[in-house]
Each structure stands twice: as C-alpha cells, then as structure tokens.
Symmetry: D2
Subunit: 135 residues, 4 copies
C-alpha cells in the first residue's frame, strides 16, 4: 500500500466567492475531506472513533495558496504522512488540478479525548497502519 | 417588549459566490443567527439549553429569495413569532437592506431532546417569554 | 434517459454542528451540488454558462427536514424536474440514506443574466434536454 | 490611531462541528472578517476596491490552534500589521476569549488585479494609512 493518498474534489458555487475564485478557507475543508477518506481507506471511520472518544484535531498548519482554483474544476488532494508521533502526526498535503499546483500545506493533527479535548495517544491500530503504509 | 426582533448582519466575502452575490443557502445562516440572538435577548443561551438536552431544530421552511444581497451590504434580519405550540413555533423572518427586501421565510422550529432528537415540549419559561412578548 | 437523477454526498465534519447532526442549511449545499451534476450530466457546465452570462439562481424553496443526517453517512440526493417554464423550472429533490428519507424540497430555479441578475429565457438546448428526458 | 485592531465574533451553531467545538477552518473566516473591518475602519470598502479591480488574497498562513472555542462564546480577533511591502503585507492575528488565547496566525495578504489575479502594488492610500497607524 502506498504512502500517498489521492482524493478528488469538485469545485461548486458554494466554494467560490465574489472574487470569482475558491474562497481561501474552503481549501482547508478539502484537505480535511481527504484526511477523512485516507483514514476511511485505512479502515477507520471517524464517527466510530468519536463514539470511542477518539477525535483528531488540527494543531497547526503552514499553508501556501499558489494558484486560484475556479468553479467546476476537478481538484486532486494528495496526502502523505511525513511524521508519526505517539499522539500526533504531520501530513504534507497538496491540491492540484492537472499539472498545476493550487496550494500546499503541512498539517499537524493531534489525537484528543472527545470529552476533555486533552491530548491522548493514537490508537495502536492506526499507528500500525500508518507505519505499514510507509514501508 | 415588542414581538419583533431585529438583528444586523454584515455580508463578507465568505457569504458570496462566483455569481457575485450572496450564496442562497447563506441566508439561512443569517436567519439562524437572528433566532439565536432573539433567544439570547429573551434570556436563553443555546449552549446552556444544550447542556440541559434542549435543542431547537428547523423542521420546515418556505423561502423566497427576492433580491440578491452583495458584498459589504449591512442587512437586517427581522424576526416575528407567528405561532406557538407546545413543542414547536413558527417564525416569520425577512431580510432587508434599507428599504429593499432581500428575502422572506416562514420557519418552523421544533424543540427536541439533545440525545434522542425526539420532539419534546419547550421549556415553560421560553413559552412564557414568547407569550408575554406577544401581548 | 430517465427523468430522475441521483447524486451521492458523503457527510464530513464540516457539515455537522455541535448538536451532533448535519447543520440544517448544509442540506441546501447538497441539493445544489446535485442540481449542478444533473446539469453537467446533461452536457452543461455552469462555469461556461456563466461566461455566457447565464446564471441559475434559486427563487424559492419549500423544505421539510425529516430525519437528522450524521457524520460519515453516505446520502443520496434524488432530483426530478417537475415543471419547466421559459425562464424557470421547478425540481423535486429528496435526500435519503438507505431506506430513510432525510429531507424533501421543492425548488424553483430561475435563469438570470449574469450582470443584471434580471430574469431571462433559459437556453433552448437546456429546455430541449429537460423535455427529452421527460418523455 | 493604534496599530492594533480588535473585532468581536460570536460563535453560532454554524461555526461548530460534531466534535462540539468550532470547526478548525471557521477561524479563518473570523480572521478574514477582522481584516475586512480593519480595512473598513481605515476607510476602505472591499466592494469598492473590487470595482476598481483591486482584490486582496491570502498568500500564506502559519496557524496554531491552541484552545477549542465553543458555542455562544464571544471571541475577539486582534489584528496587527507587522510588515508592509509594495504588493503585500503581513499581519499577526490572534483570537482570544477573555484571557484565554484560542489561536494565533501569521497571515500574508497580497494585492492582485481582479481580472488577471496577478500581483500588483497596493493603492498608495492604503499603504499610507497603514504606515500612519504604525507610528
């Protein structure tokens, strides 16, 4: 299984603004959809994880918006795990359309307890899947 | 206390789409902000209500979009309760900008239990406040 | 070609609210995605239409929210054109998950000029496609 | 005139997700509202700027989410310009609630031409206002 995960996102009117391009914060929604689908492909369903009080939250991001995306474009979100720690991981995510790169982001995602929102270790099975993908 | 409640909403880039006007579904956000502030003015805080397992959900709406709203406009949401039942109420809401009416909606809001999402009677104090306003 | 068009929508965290269910106005985004894909399947691309100053706007809606949708559910939006006029059409749209119906809406969509936002006749080719589907 | 600008933001249901807290990308909307109001206070209206083909776009951001914000909280966005160049500026923005800091961001905003989306010099009057504030 490859370490790189691709997820398609279509741009709808809801994603654009009066500047005629995708509203800058909407890309973060696209990145989150891709991370969710990456987890789903690995066998993990966030609604089940949430029932077990395991929630992933975004801790920090470095983002570069490089080219504007526009209505009707079919984008690809490319997600790669670059670092795994006990209670968090770092992912490199880019959004492309054909050969054009629209944006790139480095995203730190932390595992927290659903009620307390305090950091906690990621489930072993998730760490195992990530580590196995990496090999 | 008057039965009619007014709440201002500024239009930001986030609210607009590539058509150059406010995205149609965003008006429903504006309506909900106004209903929340109407409840707050009446002394009810939805986060506290939620802790007591009292949640208001929208059951149905009839909406007419009449004139497009645009970036930077300062809108007013006008909210009037038109009917109160045990477990639900109906509100007439309009959005205006100066003398121009942008949209109108009739909104049925129901009270449900936070966990089960089943209908339940509205708290007496809320019914009392609405009834008192009406007089 | 059938008159009924189905489009899948996955529920992500972005669609939910602190009540633990899909935020009521998000369903309108799902409906709009389905209308866009229905047009795309019929051969019409809204970004091209927009360049030709043809924009579709929502004029009115009657909506019933019937059952809450939740995180990770895979919904289906079912769209049927029920009426076609010169400058507008009416669509019946429902959202289901398996055998459960989540919401139903009647949506009037009008064709307007991109700059003036004034009503104008729908392009003949679009009317033709809709009429042909209907038979 | 002070270099630091404060803008209040109330958290509504629309801003929260099923984790019970504000959806991470919604903070970027709050930051953008504050930048818009900062410009407005300085005498610049983005809808007028757009008519003159002057658009501000976000180029990059470094963001740290520090504490979750929750339903009904009244947040304050604090915005400070930290660097001004010919065609872009850098702002430090934090979001607080009382004494608690919820997030911090460094935001590079660039001035682009409305049609071409190519970088262009910021209007002199805007640079002047920022420079005057700074003294």
């Amino acid at each position: 299984m490859s370490n790189q995960f691709q997820w398609p996102v279509r741009v709808y009117y809801e994603d654009t603004d009066a500047g005629g391009i995708v509203y800058h914060a909407r890309y973060l929604y696209f990145l989150e959809r891709a991370r969710t689908e990456w987890l789903r492909e690995a066998g993990f369903n966030q609604s089940l994880l949430k029932q077990q009080n395991t929630i992933f939250v975004v801790r920090d991001m470095q983002i570069k918006w490089q080219q504007p995306a526009t209505l009707d474009e079919l984008l690809t979100v490319i997600t790669t795990v670059t670092q795994v720690k006990k209670a968090s991981m770092v992912m490199a995510q880019t959004i492309t359309c054909g050969h054009e790169q629209k944006m790139q982001a480095s995203v730190t995602v932390a595992c927290v307890h659903g009620d307390t929102k305090k950091p906690m270790a990621m489930p072993d099975e998730i760490i195992k899947v990530i580590t196995d993908r990496d090999e």
